[in-house]
């Protein structure tokens, strides 16, 4: 309940401030965002797009965590959590891809450029897609839980390789990519003014709370469904 209200309030704030605050070339007061040459109003995507991508990664890790927990304990509730997290991860992965693609059309000239980060999120989409096709192909509950847990762990151990492979084979467009003077590390130092930074971090917190709330909701719904099935 607290999480739901808090995430709602914070998200509303982020939407109002992130979209509503005026931009000026020389910010004078606290409510004016700086104009970034070449981006202008398009810079506002950072308040929504980056947290979505962040969430899909959090969801991926949560899903793997509960996959390991399932293999250890063999308790169905862990599998329910693992698949609930993966479902949300897929949703936010799609949202991040779509918002990013539309933005790229206006800023980089085409919907898709195979930039390292675009490739990575595409791989994440493929993994989620494969995970759910595997789940739908197995009918027995225990078997489905075991096989999909094993698959998500194997997928998770191969994902880190992309951090090393991508910079070798392509140059990037995203901030923090190869060729960007800011460096090519996986964690990016965005050049943001303090007020942008505040909205950005508020948004990260708000999206994380949103994930937590949706996650609990799905887990509870799945528990109720299982309960109903048992009663016939």
């Amino acid at each position: 309940m607290v999480v739901k209200v808090l995430s709602g309030v914070l998200l509303t704030l982020v939407i109002i401030l992130g979209l509503g605050l005026p931009m000026s070339p020389h910010p004078q007061s606290w409510y004016e965002l700086p104009v970034i040459p070449g981006l202008e109003d398009k810079a506002r995507i950072i308040f929504f797009h980056v947290p979505m991508a962040w969430l899909s990664v959090i969801a991926f890790l949560t899903s793997m965590y509960y996959a390991i927990a399932y293999l250890r304990t063999r308790q169905m509730k862990n599998d329910v959590r693992s698949s609930a997290a993966a479902g949300l991860g897929l949703l936010f992965c799609i949202l991040a891809t779509l918002t990013g693609a539309v933005w790229a059309k206006f800023n980089w000239g085409s919907y898709w450029n195979w930039d390292p980060r675009e490739t990575s999120i595409f791989v994440l989409l493929l993994i989620y897609g494969a995970y759910f096709s595997l789940r739908s192909a197995v009918e027995t509950e225990e078997k489905r839980a075991t096989l999909s847990s094993v698959y998500s762990i194997i997928a998770a151990v191969t994902v880190p390789f992309f951090i090393f492979i991508m910079p070798r084979i392509m140059t990037g467009l995203h901030p923090g990519a190869k060729g960007d003077p800011e460096g090519a590390g996986p964690v990016v130092e965005f050049k943001m003014s303090p007020n942008m930074r505040l909205i950005f971090y508020t948004s990260l917190v708000a999206f994380t709370l949103l994930f937590y709330w949706l996650f609990q909701l799905r887990v509870r719904a799945a528990a109720l469904e299982a309960h109903n099935d048992q009663r016939g």
Binding site: L134, V138, L147, Y151, T158, F161, I165, R168
Partner: protein, 231 residues
């Protein structure tokens, strides 16, 4: 001391018998071998027909070689586990050998298959695709050998997973592709370097990535195989 010794010999013996069993039954039916071979021939002819008399840039040709190998592997490597399920011999095998011996036996079998597949694909590809020239043989050789090892590891564990699922054939490439993608991108890049004639030192990074991929995937597969194999 003696007990440990005899445990190890019996382990190696079961590993070898799993490999030999698969190998002999493969020689009897030649199911996987002929599927792989025909697949390679079919794909290379499609490439030849679609190229016609026109050439393609060397980079594209280097990539297409691995397209042939990927789909070729996907047509045959799942056989070793799917066969056990179809014949209903899974339970017998569970009784007769420890899970990891079964895994490594099947891995060895798949390794032999994929090495053969790669050798045939490369030979046919080099013979019929005229624009495909390898200038640095050492990089290419390393990419093919390490690529085969990585392919075999990932393909074997995914085969074990799909053998247990209900839809076997269609799911195999879908599940394997995201897992194999880091490997594919690296070997394709290495092949491009080899056909550009880059010195061996330029491909050191690729080779490091391939070796660590093999180690990581084989270890993860070995640790997780028990869970798939035991009901």
């Amino acid at each position: 001391m003696e007990a440990a010794e005899s445990a190890r010999t019996s382990y190696l013996r079961s590993l070898r018998s799993v490999f030999l069993k698969d190998w002999l039954s493969e020689l009897r039916t030649r199911y996987a071998i002929s599927a792989l071979l025909m697949f390679v021939v079919t794909t290379i002819s499609i490439i030849l027909f679609s190229l016609g008399s026109e050439g393609a840039p060397p980079d594209a040709l280097s990539g297409m070689l691995w397209v042939v190998i990927f789909f070729g592997a996907m047509s045959g490597l799942s056989r070793t586990f799917v066969m056990e399920e179809e014949r209903g011999t899974t339970l017998t095998l569970q009784l007769l050998a420890p899970p990891s011996a079964i895994f490594f036996g099947k891995l060895l079998f798949n390794l032999v298959l994929i090495t053969g597949l790669n050798a045939v694909s490369v030979a046919l590809y080099a013979a019929f695709i005229t624009g495909f020239v390898i200038k640095t043989v050492s990089i290419f050789l390393a990419a093919v050998v390490l690529g085969s090892l990585g392919f075999a590891s990932a393909a074997t564990i995914i085969a074990a997973i799909i053998a247990r699922a209900n839809t076997r054939g269609t799911l195999y490439p879908v599940l394997s592709f995201p897992i194999l993608l880091p490997l594919l991108l690296t070997v394709i890049h290495a092949t491009q370097l080899a056909s550009d004639g880059a010195p061996f030192s330029e491909a050191i990074g690729e080779i490091q990535i391939l070796i660590s991929y093999i180690v990581v995937v084989t270890t993860a597969a070995y640790m997780l195989f028990d869970y798939i194999w035991k009901d």
